[in-house]
């Protein structure tokens, strides 16, 4: 107990942070999120991941819907498109089809993803559009000041569920697995190093990668998805989890009360661009003969 912890001084760290190079992926705008919001970890995580992957920022597009999470593109120094509530995936799909050389990263909150935008997820996943979808899941509507969301727990009291939420929450991990996403993983804003590794792996994956990031809304949720609760709930992937085994991934996803952190499932299959190229080849062969 009386072991002394050596203090770390920011000035000493600064040199290290600057030298590392990821700051060039931060935009000049400072995040407008509330102090303590889980989303800060995502901004850090993505910039470090882009730096690690050595991607040129002019070839990266960050696309988002509407919500606190969706403010994200303004805080990273890449091309960005802040679109409409729920429509990040179709816009991102269009961007990728429009220019396949771009690295496309889609971002949104849980309401943006699973409520208003819920109809688009299966299609981006089944088409295996080569992009990364980061869902910042705080189980609440942050931007509109604290209403219930499709991932809010039963019994959660919010401004729109004053007598407790009675709608069973969705299970995003099971959904994405059954939609056919070729990379499905989970991370937690309270474990930023793991989160950064997961974002890096998700971007590196060829095909549609879905990363759910559990994150507290410190302003509108004082009872459920708090750092304290989430830190107690999350757990590591079980030893020897086989990321190619859909049954194992589903079993893991079913235990959403104790969210496991890591890559649940990963597969390789043709991307939308490859499928389209096949059509182009067939059409051109047919018209040549």
């Amino acid at each position: 107990m009386n072991k002394r912890v050596e203090p770390v001084y920011l000035e000493d760290k600064l040199q290290e942070i600057r030298a590392d190079g990821h700051l060039k992926y931060r935009s000049k705008s400072l995040p407008t999120w509330c102090p303590g919001c889980g989303y800060f970890s995502m901004a850090d995580g993505l910039t470090v991941a882009l730096n690690r992957l050595g991607l040129d920022n002019r070839n990266v597009v960050t696309v988002s819907g509407i919500g606190c999470a969706s403010r994200f593109p303004f805080f990273v120094n890449t091309y960005g498109f802040h679109t409409l509530h729920g429509r990040v995936l179709p816009v991102a799909t269009g961007i990728k089809i429009g220019n396949d050389a771009l690295t496309v990263i889609a971002v949104g909150g849980d309401g943006d993803a699973f409520a208003i935008g819920g109809g688009h997820i299966p299609h981006a996943a089944r088409r295996n559009v080569d992009m990364t979808y980061l869902v910042f899941d705080n189980g609440i509507y942050g931007l509109t000041k604290g209403q219930t969301s499709p991932t809010s727990a039963l019994g959660f009291k919010t401004s729109s569920t004053p007598y407790e939420n009675g709608d069973a929450p969705l299970n995003p991990m099971m959904m994405l697995l059954s939609y056919g996403a070729s990379w499905v993983g989970q991370a937690y804003a309270g474990k930023p190093h793991h989160l950064t590794d997961m974002i890096t792996a998700a971007i590196a994956h060829k095909g549609f990668s879905f990363l759910r990031i559990l994150s507290p809304c410190v302003t509108f949720d004082k009872t459920d998805n708090t750092y304290k609760n989430l830190s107690m709930m999350v757990r590591d992937l079980p030893d020897g989890h086989d990321g190619t085994d859909m049954m194992a991934a589903m079993a893991l996803a079913m235990q959403d009360g104790h969210p496991a952190l890591g890559v649940f499932f990963q597969a390789e299959r043709p991307t939308l661009a490859e499928v389209m190229q096949t059509s182009i080849d067939r059409a051109q062969q047919a018209s040549a003969t």
Binding site: P90, V91, T93, G94, I97, N99
Partner: protein, 603 residues
Amino acid sequence: MNKSGTDIQFAICGSAGDGTIASGDIVKRAAAAVGFHVIAFDVYPPEIRGFGKCISRIRVSAEQAYSLKEKTDVFISLNDSHAIPHVGEVRDFGAVIYDDRSIAPIREGAHITAHIRPAQIPYGLPIRQISEQATNAARSRNIVVLGYMAGLLKLPSRPFREVIAAKFATKPQAVIDANIRAFDAGLEAGRKVFRLDDVDVGTVPDHGGSEAVMMTGNGAIVRGFLEAGIQSYFGYPITPATSIMERLAVEMPKQGGKFLQTEDEISAIAATIGAGFAGSRAATATSGPGLALMTEMLGLGVMAEVPSVVVVSQRGGPSTGLPTKTEQSDLNLAVFGGSGDAQRIVIAPTNVEGCYRCAGMAFEIAETYQTPVIVLIDLYLSNRYETVFPSHENTFAPKPRKVPELAEGEPYKRFAFTESHISPRALPGDAGMVHTVTGLEHNELGRPGDGDHMRMNAKRHEKLISATRYPGLTVAKRFGDAGKVDVGILGWGSTFGEILEAMFEAQDAGISCSAMKAVMLSPLPVDELRAFFDDCRTVLVPELNYEGQFANLVSGALGRPVVRLNRTVATPMPVADILAEVKRLAAEADSPERIPATAGVGS
């Protein structure tokens, strides 16, 4: 059209499964192959299966006609119960061709002969029997009648044989032979009867070597898109726009284009705008219900200043409405749909050739003004056939892009205020110009903020004004008498064909009359419109909607009264209705005490 030379209208009526539409198709292709102008419109039953009524109407002329005629010259019945209600559309001394050997006993009055008027000329022949004799099957009745008609009118038979052979080219040779036999058997029968010399085929016009291409409005849209080098297309099936996506699905990959059927119209326009943001020539096509879903995204396209092209083919509404019938009731949605002040460009071609030109130019206009461009047509234009004599140089291909230039150390302003109100656009991939666009109000850099809202709103509106003078695009055009006239007819979209026909007839009746078509509906070409109003004593606005959506738009913009003529009869506007209204207005103009024009809805 002017009354010189050939002008024959054919109509073939039968039930689904009789080969009605196929036989009409052969007539129009044969006529076009010879070099005539063709305009044609088929009416289908809404059901896919069953024995609903089909009518194929084809007008063949030496000069370009603008609409179908009220009266048909040669009418063929392949099914009497469907044909009987239409016998009345045959003109005096026109021909009615029918089967005179019924295979079943017929109720009193159920035979077509009971409905042919004395002035009409009946031509009965044993259609089924001839078909069975020629091909051992009754299936070629629709070809037998074509042969008969060719014989009756002394039409050259070679083009028919060629078109029949081409139509069945993918079938075994025996099928082609059987159909040619059916045609020849009909031809022989037709040559035996006395010639119908009241219908004059006349001579083939000279087109200076240019070859006729038969196209529907939707086909013309596709051709325009392909010539413009369309790179991405996103769509969701809906009548009457579906054939655009189906044709593009076949043709785009041949030129390396990317085609995707999306999960709904919201994603179709979202992906179109996404691809446009990435610098791709992208488009989508839909009908009114799909456009209703797209309006929020169109607002984003306006706000984020991203080019996109949306073809909208209207059908009867509201809601699911009349999916297989034409109407012009989505003008308000196209021009105004969405939240906020979201001015966009809307162009509405009036004929098939116009569909081709508007679709071809839409990308460049969208790129120039960095905003959505809606090409607004309707079912009548989507599905009707016209002969187009396309020019051979492709003027729609993209011109080289200008990458914005930045002075050293200067930040890139995506939404910079400029004299033209258009800001130089960088694309993802361009170095040194990384930026984020947003549907939130923003400053010149694209950063969210309300401070510049008034100026930005002005920028988004003002930049479009010059679109009404876009080089090579007809935004409005006047026809008929020059100078001051008693009656001006102002129209838009497919209805303008009927308007022109009515205008010619009114002129023949001695009425001083001219017509103007408005092609650009947003922004409105107010100078041209005002000049027209200045010259016309009364302006009549015929359109296929209940209240007069274009009438409201124009009279609101100009502050001038108009006389409305509205029909929602699920068919194109009857020329006779327009003519009657023109005559009424001309009579009022003549009378010393002018009766105020009735401004109410359709009488």
